[in-house]
């Protein structure tokens, strides 16, 4: 039996887990065991999928035995399986972190009991979107993960979360409607929604129709990926959610949008004329995003702005549509999912230890908790792209590809990328200087938790009633796991870049994808990529 035919399990297992945890809603311990167990199983399965995609190339699974142009297919290629593995690893770490937080706070019951089923549905939606070889199924994947994210975003229903939730829901629904309109138009123009089939048929349309469909899809995905003019909603809504939720949103949701953009650009509309606008947008995303980050004093908001800014790097790599650029973009996506999530998790820990996530109220954390400082420092430097970390390697890949391309716009992007990297370093260094290095007394409005000193463990058993564990072992452990994963991306950057390179080659070639879906005798028209111009 072919391992790739197990691909639907990557969606089915989390959904099954969601059903089980929903049944076990009053038994939080069993709930935790089921969700962590099933997610680990999914991760193991996805590692197998990645291995199979690496060794034997792209494979397609038809769902329910309906043949490709009509039925739904799931496609496992290097890019989608790499995304699956990274996203599941990250979501597993966040799940462990969240259960640790729940256990430490002692809120064993509602509304957190709804967390597990919703979270697993979110994971299922993400997997579905990554695997889907069908435009409408991609839409369904998006809707699954978005609906789950609405619930997670407004968990607890406090005032700020509802306020942020409204913006988030309305923006997401509008982008979904745009996506659906695009699908309707695509279907009207070609009579199919299968992506491999579309790749063949879209080429026959006239240029105007193609451009219209292309722009519609890119705008819909651009809202989800938070690309500059469409990114206003993200820093507004993400920071209010609970720390683990923000972490998983930051890591996964925007990257699903980026993934969909990559597929649109490489599979559906290769060699089209939108690369120049995409490059301009990428430059603006990088620069405007990071300038926004410099104005913030709340770490969560600052990180949300860096998230927007670094989406620009991925769009940059994508817009070059050369093997080197796309490979670097794939690598960068994998790197950024891990790093951005670990930074948000660390911020959650900072908020617990220091009582606040605002740098005006923090200080002296490096002395209070050296481990926390280390956990922040490594991904922080990684995000800023300091050698030898993976952020540096990804950026070097992008810059090399940009210089290789050699157009004035590409040089502008290269310069923009370097400036953004430096400004990221500045933003991270400001957080570091204020929250970690200065004395707690120097903070403008130091938080009482910060000044209280270590909690009253030493004060005897009687004092334990009102103290919460400031840094529970599970939370620190899962964060540490993610940070180590981020470092591992650096250590194994060679093989990973090899994989990204292969993935980029296959995506630009299109033949492996189309032939795995429609049969190996399908003639694939040569793409007219003029060296990425």
């Amino acid at each position: 039996m072919n391992i790739a035919s197990l691909a639907p399990l990557a969606v089915v297992l989390p959904i099954l887990g969601a059903a089980l945890t929903f049944l076990l809603i009053r038994h939080s311990r069993a709930q935790r065991a089921v969700s962590i167990g099933l997610l680990s199983l999914t991760l193991a399965l996805e590692c197998l999928l990645l291995a199979s995609a690496w060794n034997s190339g792209t494979a397609a699974v038809t769902i329910g035995g309906w043949l490709p142009p009509w039925g739904i297919v799931m496609v496992v290629d290097q890019f989608s399986s790499l995304m699956l593995v990274v996203s599941s690893a990250v979501s597993l770490a966040v799940l462990v972190y969240a259960t640790g937080q729940g256990m430490a706070d002692g809120d064993e019951d509602a509304p957190v009991s709804i967390f597990h089923p919703t979270y697993l549905i979110l994971v299922a939606g993400v997997s579905n979107a990554f695997l889907s070889g069908d435009l409408f199924n991609l839409y369904v994947g998006f809707e699954i993960l978005l609906t789950a994210s609405y619930v997670l975003m407004t968990l607890g229903g406090t005032g700020p979360r509802i306020r942020a939730g409204v913006t988030y829901v309305v923006v997401s629904v509008v982008s979904s409607v745009l996506f659906l309109i695009a699908i309707a138009m695509v279907y009207g123009a070609t009579g199919t929604v299968n992506m491999a089939d579309l790749a063949l048929k879209l080429g026959d349309l006239d240029q105007g129709t193609r451009t219209l469909l292309h722009v519609m899809l890119l705008v819909a995905f651009g809202i989800k990926a938070a690309v500059f003019p469409l990114s206003f909603w993200l820093p507004d809504s993400y920071p209010t959610a609970p720390a683990p939720v923000t972490a998983v949103f930051a890591g996964l949701l925007t990257k699903v949008g980026v993934y969909a953009m990559v597929r649109t650009e490489t599979l559906l509309f290769p060699g089209d004329t939108l690369n120049t606008p995409l490059m301009v947008v990428a430059l603006l995303t990088m620069v405007v995003g990071i300038l926004g980050a410099l104005a913030q004093s709340d770490i969560k908001r600052l990180l949300s702005f860096t998230l927007v800014s670094h989406i620009g790097y991925m769009v940059f790599g994508l817009a070059m549509s050369s093997v080197a650029g796309l490979a670097a973009a794939v690598f960068y996506v994998a790197h950024h999912i891990t790093i951005q999530t670990s930074l948000f998790l660390v911020t959650g820990l900072i908020e617990r230890r220091g009582g606040s996530s605002s740098v005006d109220r923090l200080g002296g954390l490096a002395k209070l908790s050296p481990l926390l400082a280390l956990l922040f420092f490594i991904p922080g430097m990684n995000l800023a792209g300091i050698p030898p970390f993976s952020g540096f390697l990804g950026k070097v890949g992008l810059l090399q590809a940009g210089i290789e391309l050699g157009t004035p716009l590409a040089y502008a992007l290269v310069i923009g990328g370097v400036v953004t990297s430096l400004l990221t370093l500045l933003a991270i260094a400001r957080v570091w200087n204020r929250a970690f290095w200065r004395k707690p007394e120097d903070a403008e409005h130091p938080d009482p938790v910060l000044l209280a000193g270590p909690s009253g463990r030493a004060a005897g058993p009687g004092a334990k009633i009102n103290t919460v564990t400031l840094l529970p072992r599970t939370m620190v452990g899962s964060t540490l796991g993610l940070v180590v994963l981020g470092v591992a991306l650096t250590v194994f950057a060679g093989p990973l870049f090899g994989l990204s390179d292969q993935a980029a080659r296959d995506m630009l070639d299109r033949a492996p994808y189309i032939q795995s879906v429609l049969g190996s005798d399908t003639a694939v028209p040569a793409t007219v990529t003029g060296g990425g111009r």
Binding site: F136, V140, E143, T147, Y150, V151, T154, G157, T158, G159, P160, I162, R163, A164, G165, V166, T167, V169, V170, V173, V174, S176, V177, L180, I181, I183, A184, M185, Y187, G188, V193, D236, P239, A295, Q296, S297, D298, R301, R434
Partner: protein
């Protein structure tokens, strides 16, 4: 593919009203706007299926072109279910907003306003660095009509004496 004009006009009207409504500040109107947009899109999908044909039950003698295209209807069904879920959730949120704030309007982001009002001057980053940062200043200042080394001038500064600029650490005011 023939075009059904009624469908298109209704669709256009729904889109226009929907877009108008989601630009309002009242949440209930935004929700209504979203519902209209979703339904307009359903009509768009329906119109991509071409003219109304026979129901797609297979009979031997009917040529394939006479059947209605069933796929758009399957897509619409899915999208109706999804918009139903989203509408229910939005209603929940609107109710919660009402419970919490007694109002139906979209509220401004407090943190956004705070950041916007923050002066561009930052006490820690932008404070003026004193001209003399060395511990062994060589400069002389003119105070009370005579020249003297800066650190002596700072030490001499008293309430009532000619106020010099306060130094970085000395300079009692």
């Amino acid at each position: 593919m023939s075009v059904n004009l009624t469908l298109l006009i209704v669709m256009g009207a729904l889109y226009a009203c929907g877009i108008y409504l989601i630009l309002e500040r009242s949440l209930t109107r935004v929700l209504l706007g979203l519902m209209l947009l979703a339904n307009a899109t359903n009509l768009l999908i329906l119109s991509t299926g071409g003219y109304a044909g026979l129901a797609p039950f297979f009979t031997k003698d009917t040529p394939a072109a006479d059947y209605n295209d069933p796929l758009p209807q399957a897509l619409i069904l899915t999208s109706i279910v999804i918009s139903f879920a989203v509408t229910a959730f939005m209603l929940g949120i609107i109710y919660r907003t009402w419970v919490l704030a007694r109002q139906d309007d979209i509220q401004d982001d407090v943190e956004d306003l705070r950041v916007a009002e923050t002066p561009s001057f930052d006490a820690e980053d932008d404070a003026e660095i004193p001209a003399e940062t060395s511990e062994f200043p060589l400069t002389t200042v003119t105070a009370g009509g005579r020249e003297m080394p800066a650190e002596l001038a700072a030490a001499e500064e008293q309430p009532g004496s000619l106020n010099l600029e306060s130094g970085p650490e000395g300079g009692t005011k």
